[in-house]
């Protein structure tokens, strides 16, 4: 009987040992699952959302400030009015962020001439789309006031209109040739015309109005006819090789009107700080941007 008693005790002890081991393993596994789930929540970063909101607000504030700062002409911008608007905006935004324990500041920066890149800066995206899904373009004009800031034939700047399949419907190539602006306009398969703006010209090209420096061109650019009946996009190629302005308006395929222009670019620097982190962002803003 003594032999049997020893076996029973051993089995019971073994059973308890296995039971305790299972409890320990379960608790450890549970901790691992819990910790990994808590870690996954850290990927939901609200600071990115707040920064995006601050950038959007500042962009709209710059566009509004610009509208109050132009005295009838886009070349005559009142910097004092522009800065005063941004200062008032910054003060009010600081109060709003202060409620949530954040510090907000905004340095407006200076207005500068814009390149034909996506964000208007020289190092911005070279090839980009101005507007897509266009039904009709009511007005489209560009201006290249300083020929020295236009590249030569090896780096032609192109305005290209493409349909939804990517086929070119209409294009305009511009390059600097001994101080003159040489322009070649082409349709889907053939050249429509060659034009030149001499050094004495203002460099204003009214594409939909078929005018250069307020004078009719011959032959016409034929922009409207070549794009009629298509759902098309207007693209810029090699935008960093020219400084200038553009304005465009019309209707999208959805029936929604659009209107935008760029005469200047400004780079406000915004900063949002908490006790732990500080985020600084410099955001290029095209002015006037969307026109209401």
């Amino acid at each position: 009987m003594k032999k049997f008693d020893d076996s029973a005790q051993l089995l019971l002890i073994a059973g308890f040992a296995v039971g305790v081991g299972i409890v320990v393993l379960t608790v450890m596994l549970n901790n691992v699952i819990y910790a990994s789930n808590i870690a996954s929540e850290s990927s939901i970063d609200t600071s990115r959302y707040d920064i995006a909101n601050a950038i959007q607000m500042t962009t709209e504030a710059c566009e509004d400030a610009y509208q109050y700062s132009i005295n009838g002409s886009h070349s005559n911008v009142d910097n004092g009015t522009f800065r005063q608007y941004i200062e008032t905006y910054t003060e009010k935004a600081s109060e709003n962020y202060g409620v949530t324990g954040l510090t907000f500041s905004c340095q407006p920066g200076n207005l500068s001439k814009a390149y034909f890149t996506h964000n208007g800066l020289v190092d911005g995206e070279d090839n980009w789309t101005i507007v897509k899904n266009i039904n009709t373009t009511d007005s489209f004009a560009i201006s290249i006031p300083n020929t020295s800031l236009l590249s030569n034939e090896s780096n032609k700047v192109m305005i290209k209109v493409t349909n939804t399949s990517g086929n070119t419907l209409w294009s305009m190539e511009l390059y600097n040739s001994s101080g003159n602006i040489n322009i070649t306009v082409s349709g889907q398969s053939s050249t429509i015309g060659n034009y030149q703006i001499t050094t004495s010209g203002a460099g204003e090209i009214n594409i939909t109005g078929d005018e250069i420096d307020n004078s009719d061109v011959s032959p016409d650019f034929d922009f409207s006819n070549r794009t009629a009946g298509h759902d098309y996009s207007i693209n810029i190629i090699n935008g960093s090789h020219v400084v200038g302005t553009y304005s465009i308006s019309g209707n999208l395929s959805t029936g929604q009107p659009f209107s935008q222009a760029r005469y200047w670019v400004v780079e406000p620097t915004i900063s949002i700080s908490s006790r732990e982190i500080t985020v600084n962002r410099t955001v290029p803003v095209s002015l006037p941007g969307g026109i209401k």
Binding site: T26, Y89, G289, K292
Partner: protein, 205 residues
């Protein structure tokens, strides 16, 4: 009967004991496993209205809704800004079919981009929601007014906010806008009007 067979029969009782011990040990182990699993398996993935994952989901959903509303294309005002500018200052409640003014004397209904997106996203999922507009008054105090109010939120509610800049040209007639909404012109000497903080609260019923 041979002696060997006799001794085998003699040991039969110990085999039964071993079997019984094994069964009891197995029952103890299974019991411990069941106890341990039941006692410790409350993870954030456990189905409950009170867990962090649902809050995170509501947070993301709310951010997406406000981001969609605040998108503006090619010079158009965002839908969020239009909703603020068109607000008549009244408080509205979801009555099961529409957003109706809580003022019993004047039972107007609200049709805005905000109500469209809430009807499409929050209502079908059974997500209760409040929307408030707040701004900082001249004395630095935060003022708050209900746009949509469906009751007090639960402890697990999430709040998502988006700030919207208004200029004088956005508002139009500033005195009418102030009379309706109480949102003041922060600086009458410039074209800047004010910043409105749109605060949306979401919670599971």
């Amino acid at each position: 009967m041979p002696d060997k067979a006799k001794s085998g029969l003699k040991t039969d009782p110990s085999a039964q004991m071993h079997t019984l011990e094994a069964v009891i040990a197995a029952m103890i182990m299974v019991g411990i496993i069941i106890f341990a699993v039941q006692a410790t398996s409350l993870t954030p993935l456990t189905s409950s209205t009170a867990n962090a994952h649902i809050e995170a989901q509501l947070q993301t959903m709310g951010q997406d809704m406000l981001s969609a509303l605040s998108y503006s294309s090619y010079g158009q005002d965002s839908q969020l800004k239009e909703d603020i500018m068109n607000w008549d200052g009244k408080e509205y409640v979801w009555n099961g079919s529409t957003y109706r003014s809580t003022n019993n004397q004047n039972k107007t209904t609200l049709n805005s981009s905000f109500t469209d997106i809430l009807t499409q996203i929050a209502v079908p999922r059974g997500i209760a929601h409040n929307v408030h507009f707040s701004w900082v008054a001249d004395n630095g105090i935060v003022m708050d007014k209900s746009y949509i109010y469906n009751g007090d939120p639960s402890d697990n509610a999430v709040m998502i906010s988006k700030k919207v800049v208004l200029s004088d040209t956005d508002v139009g007639n500033t005195s009418d806008f102030i009379a309706a909404t109480s949102i003041p012109d922060a600086d009458s000497s410039t074209g800047f009007y004010n910043i409105v903080n749109v605060k949306m609260t979401l919670w599971r019923m």
